[in-house]
Subunit: 344 residues, 4 copies
């Protein structure tokens, strides 16, 4: 790391910083410029946090040189990681589509959707069982009953299941049913929850927080990995900006950027990012072209009756059309869509 | 609410929207302009969410007319709410200073800080016992031991105690010790946690999320209030923007804006917002001038040795100077600082 | 528009708003709810700005129902507009690549780049002649000499030329040379400049401002169109957000969104948005997949010697590879790349 | 500056960077860590821009160590600068209030406002003569006639005049009338305009751009100063964020931060930042408490008839009340309001 001293830093202050670095095993180099003294330090950043130095007298700022994550970095693991979900490989040659309703609402709704998305080529079924939402006056989910319906849908269709875990107390229950544990955007830095999913032997789908930088997102992955669970799948789902024509701003550049710094697979959720079904297929196509390893898409047999996220849900027809489209797009990046469309 | 139909919406689509509004008890008015049909609807928004309508065929957009919160609104409770913390009144004539270290680190550190901030006029002691942080490699808090030290500091100084609760599982434990339960910025929309603190008979300090709008923040308060706990104190602590010279951007306008729309007390945390102790006193003064009911400020006997947030912590000397300053500022807004400075 | 009155608005205040709307030819409808009176008004928004009403006593807020742009809207012009640049059609079936250096630096640099990008299939050459930059200590452009070199490159290669106009005083000069006048992101709301380019008989490439909403961007286009120049090409180039791993955040969703609300062609500049050449090809591919009508890309024969934007410039080899890639991507959206690669 | 090499950078690439730094007169120091080689370079940053290095093969990133501005920095000029506007000292002990309408609309409106704000203690009259606005369908200003009315108001009241210059062509005209040349937020990086005002012997009020970082803002000041005009007054006027309850987000922390890094005076425009008159007085008070050297405030004799910015304009009564308030606030920061209130 680089420690920039204030212009009027005293010899004593400079020496105190050097001594502290030294004590913590850092190799130190001093550059005395006309305007500032700059201290370069090479060592193990986990032994001395930047903020210890930044709080010392005479220090102007501390600039980290390397990324703060390790296990999640390419430096640690140069090859792409492939996360297995049963026999499905996420991050390999095949692109997976995770599709389904925002919330599990009923047996009919879920099974119908499951058959439809399976028929169009999806390999994983999404659906929320716990849905505490922004308004305390909205539908809050079917809870365990929802999980059972997901399992029934898996039984019938062979689709794997991804569902969100929001509460450490229900984690054991969710883990019993789910093939992939989803950590929602609002929980990306819920470190208690991250710690617990780190101890479960299931892949984790880690959504990027609405205002999380790529670095913080990778640090959240690091949290899970350092806790013992290496099977992390990242999911870009839009960040909060000033633009209001879309719900959030889908940061597609995060896909190649994350893939440069990290070996983890990255999927994209265009539905939440955009918030309007009309624009979802174009962004799904763009995500595949940008290099995404999969897509998380909301589909509902009747969006106008959906208890959650209707405006961003595709109808079965629109979903099928989008899938046909993506099947053509994948070869552009040297890949193919997993799953087989019925009648294809 | 207002439903704007697409330019090419059919009669049938318009009728379907009207029928749905009608069925849910809304009073409907149709305006057929040259370019668009617009449907005005008056009724109970909790009976029909905007998104149900937005997902209907032919609908361009749905525009809510009223704020979505009720219990938190001035319409529901026109007078300022005063939240009692024992015998301290937050939101009344007196401005309260909540001060202390980021994390409880040791008995010495905490007791020394408690005496110092008490001596300078603070009325409430802050200190984190559970500190899971961005990096898994950082100090994670003293946990229950930290809570006991806080209680000891209360015993000795008479200061009330505010500490963060981050996990539903430790809520009973934290509630046993704390006088105010703090919900951190990252948990502002952790609805499971909000539900649980709603059932505890303790005041809740609700920090604004890094990327939360004022409306979402008030909806989070509504969540707690609708669950049975009316004693919510709001805390502005900076939002995430593109600016990098400060840690976050302190949105001081949120103080008068929240006070216009809501009756709840609002305090300000300049330490986390700015991230650099040097600028904290100026922003503390500005917060009081903007109408804040209190301040949450980080103080550490030796910031360079702080295990957390050293760069933004005031030394005891700087804190005392700031308090003297604020004591002069409060009368500008017709108020006075609670607490008595030693020797004053 | 919808005027929401304050809860305690008086009869007199309501009547005053109604009278004002009435006087300006609006058709008015009053809805008296339990909590609020809401006034719906249908009429010509150009006759009475929202802010006149918002400033009236008793008014809580004014909510516009329709988009404020007309000429730029699909309502006004339902079919896609095709902007002709000589014999090149922007917004038609063919996707055009506008490529070249950030700045014109020398005869050799420009001609070499022109030949290279032409050889790889670009149809339009980009290059800045006036380059006043963030730092007063940086290279500021070759000015008229640069324009002459661009013309020479056009002469030799047959490529059209796009170059930025930044100053009303040099507009006549730039217009003499350029085939497309570029308005940079920082000038998107330089209304004096917009007025002047509106009077020139040349297509205008209008870049989105760093912090401009899609609506403001379309209003800037409206400014040019209402001034008499209908040949506007929009260019998404990234918006400013909190993310720091990329220079800006490329808002690719803006492509389908703009195409839904407007008939104007939209191209994408991945180079400026991302700021690092390494990620440009992936985002170029994604932009085409999202439906862009073209791309603006920085290419330099030797990026490390570039006087401007070297880090985001592609080498000729990388550019050629990207072009081959895009040639395969275009058919996915039912289009083809304009231009012919040498030897293809 | 610090050059961080990629993990797999070759000896040759490292040597090339060192050679280039060397050639440009930098003193170089190499740190070879386990993971990376880091090159520290001390020298004149104006001789070699960061981006030259960043574009070199094997370079991961370039980190500037010092601020890029010089003339605007405290390092160059440690004491506070006081900018004289005639006999008024901006940045001294007295806080100045610059007040008036958004736009000059008529003789009556302007003179009435001038008398009113003078009577309440303002020392400088604001008013726009050129008002090209977001919508081409809005009022565009009285132009030269407006400037003449401003001069007449100065004549009558003795107030100095600040008015915006938006176009290099009208600069000579505006400079003939104005006491302070205002550069609007949208023109903060209009470098042609900055260059021209740098050559005029008048103080410049430089508003911060909506999406400008503090560093870019100071670089814009540097542009003017390096061009020969040292009399720059900075004006914070809100930045664009995701929050929608206010027009922009007033970044009050920018006041102490700028004052730490720069010697230039800083004033605050709460009217544009907030966009609603109701919240202006609280934020004006907060700005003074934060250390602002002055305020720019919109006042209109009849906001509901204002041709521009009515919703954020104070009535004369509200303005007078705010001034009384500020007169009490100034001593809190050891200052006093310039100007004398009539009857005081």
């Amino acid at each position: 790391m680089i420690v920039v001293m204030q212009q009027d830093a005293t010899e004593e202050q400079i020496n105190a910083v050097v001594a502290r670095l030294d004590k913590n095993g850092f190799q130190v180099h001093l550059s005395r410029g006309v305007e500032r003294t700059i201290i370069g330090a090479i060592g193990d950043r986990t032994r001395l946090q930047d903020e210890f130095l930044e709080a010392m007298a005479g220090v102007e700022k501390v600039m980290p040189v390397l990324q703060p994550y390790k296990l999640a970095s390419r430096a640690f693991h140069p090859e792409d990681s492939v996360v297995m979900v049963g026999d499905l490989a996420i991050g390999g040659e095949e692109i997976h589509i995770l599709a389904g309703p925002c919330a599990v609402e009923s047996r009919e709704q879920l099974l119908e959707t499951a058959r439809l998305v399976k028929g169009a080529g999806a390999t994983i079924l999404r659906g929320g069982a716990f849905k505490p939402r922004t308004s305390p006056y909205s539908f809050q989910g079917l809870e365990e009953e929802g999980l059972k319906l997901l399992a029934e849908a898996r039984e019938e269709t062979g689709l794997k299941i991804v569902t969100e875990v929001m509460d450490v107390r229900t984690l054991p229950l969710v883990a019993e049913y789910a093939d992939i544990l989803q950590i929602g955007a609002r929980n990306m830095q819920n470190f208690f929850l991250l710690r617990e999913v780190a101890r479960v032997d299931k892949p984790v789908l880690l959504k990027r927080g609405l205002s999380a930088t790529i670095e913080e997102w990778l640090m959240a992955a690091e949290y899970i990995m350092s806790g013992g669970n290496q099977r992390v799948i990242l999911c870009e789902r839009g960040i909060r900006t000033f633009e209001t024509y879309t719900r959030n701003t889908l940061d597609l550049a995060a896909v190649p950027v994350v893939k440069y710094f990290s070996h983890l697979p990255v999927i994209v959720d265009p539905s939440h990012a955009i918030g309007k079904w009309r624009f979802v297929p174009a962004m799904a196509r763009a995500a595949v072209a940008a290099g995404a390893d999969g897509l998380l898409v909301e589909v509902h047999p009747n969006p106008a009756e959906a208890l959650c996220d209707g405006p961003q849900s595709l109808t079965p027809e629109n979903f099928a059309a989008m899938m046909a489209d993506l099947r053509q797009t994948a070869p552009v990046v040297g890949r193919r869509l997993a799953g087989v469309a019925a009648g294809a």
